[in-house]
Amino acid sequence: MTALLQVEDLTVQFNRKGVAPFTAVDKVSFEVAPGQTVGLVGESGCGKSVTSLAIMRLLPKRGTTITGRVDFEGTDLLSLPLEGMRDRRGRDLAMIFQDPLSSLNPVVPIGIQVTEVLERHRGMKRSAAMVEARELLESVGIPDPSRRLKEYPHQLSGGMRQRALIAMALACRPRLMIADEPTTALDVTIQAQILALLKTLVVEHGTALIMITHDLGVVAGLVDQVNVLYGGRVVERADRHELFASPRHPYTHGLLASIPRLDAGPGERLTPILGSVSDNIPWTGGCAFAPRCSREIDACRQVSPVLEPLESRADHLLRCHNPVVPVGAGAATVAATLEEEPS
């Protein structure tokens, strides 16, 4: 299966005068197959949003250095002239953002904002586009779409705003949609609705989806393959079931362990990952996660780990010297795993 989107060694550096350049995304590579849903997971500052903005080429030109390749259907988006990129945004690749209220123009009615995309990419006249916009709003489950078309963003509820944004993103049937924490700003009940909607639409339209989130619940319900990012690098990649069943990277393990559990015993404490992402990430000469890692060994401070497939599963990639032992594995396998890893 050929990939729809192939991100290869994507590196994003922010340069400021007088300060050492800050690498937000460090040689990230991943692929998205047509219709596939891929998750980028990590805590704040791990580079997941910057990755998506770099793919869309929405980062400010000044002070940003982007290297690598972003191959979309055989075209390198990064070397495309800006005009060509603008034509593709919204038509071939679309994006939805975290906060639906601030992502809508407050002084323009919803209808105009939806038709704007249709007029731009499909050359439709305003009146025809309005009819189409009505259908779009209906398809994302907005009741009474004719009335909503004339309303302003502040007159809609949070869930409806995000639905309207999804309608705008899907208006031209893009082959790839990037959702940057689409449910973070919503109530839990609405979150579930929006996720269900995204899932249905993605399946219906055959749209590939990159889901950016820090919420593992979202990942569990929606994503085919998960990339866990830490400090601008992919530290673990596996399909959803594999990752949840046997997380190997201490960071992934910690993320899963830090979720509050309903079946926890009374008085049981949460297990957070201590510390926070450091500003300048020392991947050179060691593992960036080492200072926060509970399984740190000497090698972690000396050799930067590489992303390699596990011996047992070729589709499970890991960047760790001393991975977590999968539950139920015997002592022999543990020893074998330890020997496999370069130390």
């Binding site: 919204g90 906060d99 992502s103 009741p143 009474d144 502040h154 007159q155 409806m160 993103a169």
Partner: protein, 311 residues
């Protein structure tokens, strides 16, 4: 039976979904606050009366403002002017013309200067501000340096400097002289707002949908940046009227005696301010009241539109 049940259920759900906060638009909100503001009503009444006077002035003035009806009671040698009398409640001016009629008719000139000077300043400021805010980079730097240079000169001084360039000062030259110092004020204000908009989420979202630069600027950035500019415009009307009066006072105003203007009347009263202070009192008082009206209106608008005041 089942269908009616499911339909009722669907309606209930729809009602729930529809019950999301209705909210009120920014304008409705602003109006609600304006209605309760005494400042606004005070300013609005003054401005309203002034505008009405400016429109109907020539028809309600009791006499021809240019006719020297009281010239026989006026003598430059004996420094006497016509006192208030039957039919002439404010008396005559130094030329024996009816002061009340000149005050009434003069409102129109004053309003014209205020409005047109503001409009020209606004248009110029919008063009510069949009250029700087939309393109950024060296265009922004260039425009803003020009604006800085203009702002470094006190506005009245700049207006006077432009005023003296006209060999034959008239209403148009006053308007131009007064309007140019206002351009940088609007330009800087709009540019600041546009820069904030450029970083906003909805502009990013629009860019992510491939919207072109034109619509981004004129549909997404300018309409969201304009409200403080509108407030500023109300305040600039007041400043323009003051500046225009100052120009006329200094003799750089309209020389057309048949078209009285408050600042010009104030200038004429200079020579006799000791003996006949009423000649200066009436036009000066009128200017103060009108300027106060516009300022109160502008301040009330500013407070009403300020998003920090939204509930």
């Amino acid at each position: 039976m089942v269908t009616t049940f499911s339909r009722a259920r669907k309606q209930r759900i729809d009602a729930l979904v529809n019950s999301g906060d209705e909210g009120s638009s920014l304008l409705q909100d602003a109006w609600a606050r304006l209605k309760g503001s005494p400042l606004f009503w005070f300013g609005a009444v003054i401005v309203g009366l002034f505008v009405v006077l400016a429109i109907i002035g020539p028809w309600i003035a009791p006499h021809d403002p240019g006719a020297q009806l009281l010239i026989d009671q006026t003598s430059r040698a004996r420094n006497s002017i016509a006192p208030a009398q039957n039919g002439f409640p404010l008396g005559g001016d130094t030329q024996g013309r009816d002061l009340l009629s000149r005050m009434i008719v003069g409102a129109r000139q004053t309003l014209l200067v205020g409005i047109f000077a503001t409009l020209i300043g606004l248009v110029g400021g919008l063009i510069l501000g949009i250029l700087a805010g939309a393109f950024g980079g060296w265009i922004d730097t260039l425009v803003m340096r020009i604006v800085d240079v203009m702002l470094s000169i006190p506005s009245l001084l700049l207006a006077i400097s432009i005023g003296v360039l006209f060999t034959n000062p008239n209403l148009t030259s006053v308007i131009i002289a007064v309007s140019i110092p206002q351009i940088p004020v609007f330009a800087r204000l709009l540019r600041g707002q546009m820069l904030a908009q450029r970083e906003s989420d909805h502009v990013l979202a629009a860019r992510a949908l491939g919207v072109k630069r034109g619509p981004i600027v004129f549909r997404h950035m300018v309409p969201n940046s304009i409200s403080p500019v509108i407030v500023q415009a109300t305040l600039v009307v007041a400043t323009s009227i003051l500046d225009a009066a100052a120009l006329s006072f200094l003799g750089l105003g309209s020389q057309d005696v048949s078209q009285p203007e408050w600042g010009q009347m104030l200038g004429e009263a200079q020579g006799s301010i000791d003996s006949h202070p009423q000649l200066a009192f009436w036009p000066a008082g009128a200017i103060i009241v009108v300027v106060l009206g516009f300022t109160l209106l502008g301040e009330a608008l500013r407070e009403a539109i300020d998003p920090k005041n939204r509930r």
